[in-house]
C-alpha cells in the first residue's frame, strides 16, 4: 500500500465521518461547520487527482461563499430550530433504507462495469500540458463549451436577481 493510498483512505474516512455528522447532528451551526470540514476533505481528494484549479475553486466558492451563506441562513432562522423537538422525520428510517439501497445499487452498477476492474492508474499528465489554460480555452472556445458557460452565467444572474427579489423585505 503506497503513501498516496493511505492518504486517500484517511481523507475518505474523515470525509464520510464529517458528512455523516452533517446529516445527523442536532445543532445546525455545528452541521454547517461539519459541512466546511467535509468540503475541505473533498477538496483534498480533488487535489490528489491533481485538478488544481478545481481544488482552488472549491475553497473559494464552496467554503468561502456557500458555507458562509449557510451559517448566515442558520443564524437568521434560528429561533425555534435550536434544538427542541426531533431533528429528523418520524419516517427517517425509510430515508436511511432508500439511501442504503441507492448505495447498493450504485455499487452493483459499478461492479458490472468492465472499466472498474482494470487496475490502471491515473493517466500521466503529458509534459508541457497546461491544464488551466486548456480549461480556460475550452470554456470560451466556440468549438468546445462556450454555450454551457454562457448558460451558467445567465443562470447565475437569474439566481442573483431571484434571490434578492424573494428575500426582499417589503415592509
Amino acid at each position: 500500500m503506497t503513501g498516496e493510498q493511505i492518504i486517500f483512505i484517511l481523507v475518505a474516512l474523515f470525509t464520510l465521518g464529517s458528512g455523516f455528522m452533517v446529516v445527523t447532528t442536532r445543532n445546525l451551526v455545528h452541521a454547517a461547520l461539519w459541512l466546511v470540514s467535509t468540503l475541505f476533505c473533498v477538496r483534498v481528494t480533488i487535489a490528489l487527482m491533481s485538478a488544481y484549479l478545481l481544488a482552488a475553486v472549491q475553497v473559494v466558492v464552496y467554503i468561502g461563499a456557500i458555507a458562509i451563506l449557510f451559517i448566515f441562513a442558520v443564524m437568521l432562522t434560528r429561533k425555534d430550530l435550536r434544538d427542541q423537538g426531533p431533528q429528523h422525520n418520524p419516517g427517517w428510517w425509510t430515508g436511511a433504507l432508500i439511501a442504503v439501497l441507492v448505495f447498493a445499487g450504485l455499487f452493483a452498477l459499478l461492479q458490472g462495469w468492465n472499466g472498474l476492474l482494470e487496475k490502471k492508474g491515473p493517466t500521466a499528465l503529458p509534459a508541457g500540458f497546461d491544464q488551466i489554460s486548456a480549461l480556460g480555452n475550452a470554456l470560451v472556445s466556440p468549438d468546445a463549451y462556450v454555450l454551457p458557460f454562457e448558460v451558467a452565467s445567465v443562470l447565475l444572474v437569474a439566481a442573483l436577481v431571484g434571490a434578492v427579489y424573494v428575500a426582499f423585505n417589503r415592509k
Binding site: 468540503l39 473533498v42 481528494t45 485538478a51 441507492v102 491515473p122 493517466t123 463549451y145
Partner: protein, 102 residues
C-alpha cells in the same frame, strides 16, 4: 496509485449520505446541506473520470465548473426562499410549510 474504483465508491457513499440527509431532515436548511453533499460527490466523480481518461480532453473539469455555478445558484435561491418563508410563517420545518398542500 489509487485505483479509479476507490474514488467512485467513495463518491457513491458520500452521495448516499447526502441523500439520507435530504430524505430524513426536518429543517429546510439541513435539507439544503444534504444537497450540497450530493453535488460534491458528483464533482469527485467528474474529476476522477477526467483524471483516469484522456487528460487532454478537459470536459470533466468543465462540467465540474458548471456544477459549481449551479450549486451557487441553487443555494442562494434556496436560502432566500427559506428566509422568506421564515419571515412570513415563522418556521423552517419542512412539514409545517404546507400552504400549497392540497
Amino acid at each position: 496509485m489509487v485505483p479509479l474504483s476507490w474514488y467512485l465508491i467513495f463518491a457513491a457513499a458520500l452521495f448516499s449520505i447526502g441523500l439520507f440527509g435530504v430524505l430524513s431532515r426536518r429543517n429546510a436548511v439541513a435539507i439544503l446541506l444534504g444537497i450540497e453533499l450530493m453535488l460534491n460527490s458528483v464533482n469527485i466523480n467528474l474529476a476522477a473520470f477526467w483524471r483516469y481518461g484522456d487528460v487532454t480532453q478537459i470536459a470533466g473539469q468543465v462540467f465540474a465548473i458548471i456544477v459549481f455555478a449551479v450549486a451557487a445558484a441553487e443555494v442562494s435561491v434556496g436560502l432566500a426562499l427559506v428566509i422568506s418563508v421564515y419571515r412570513s410563517r415563522n418556521t423552517v420545518v419542512a412539514d409545517e410549510i404546507n400552504l400549497m398542500k392540497w
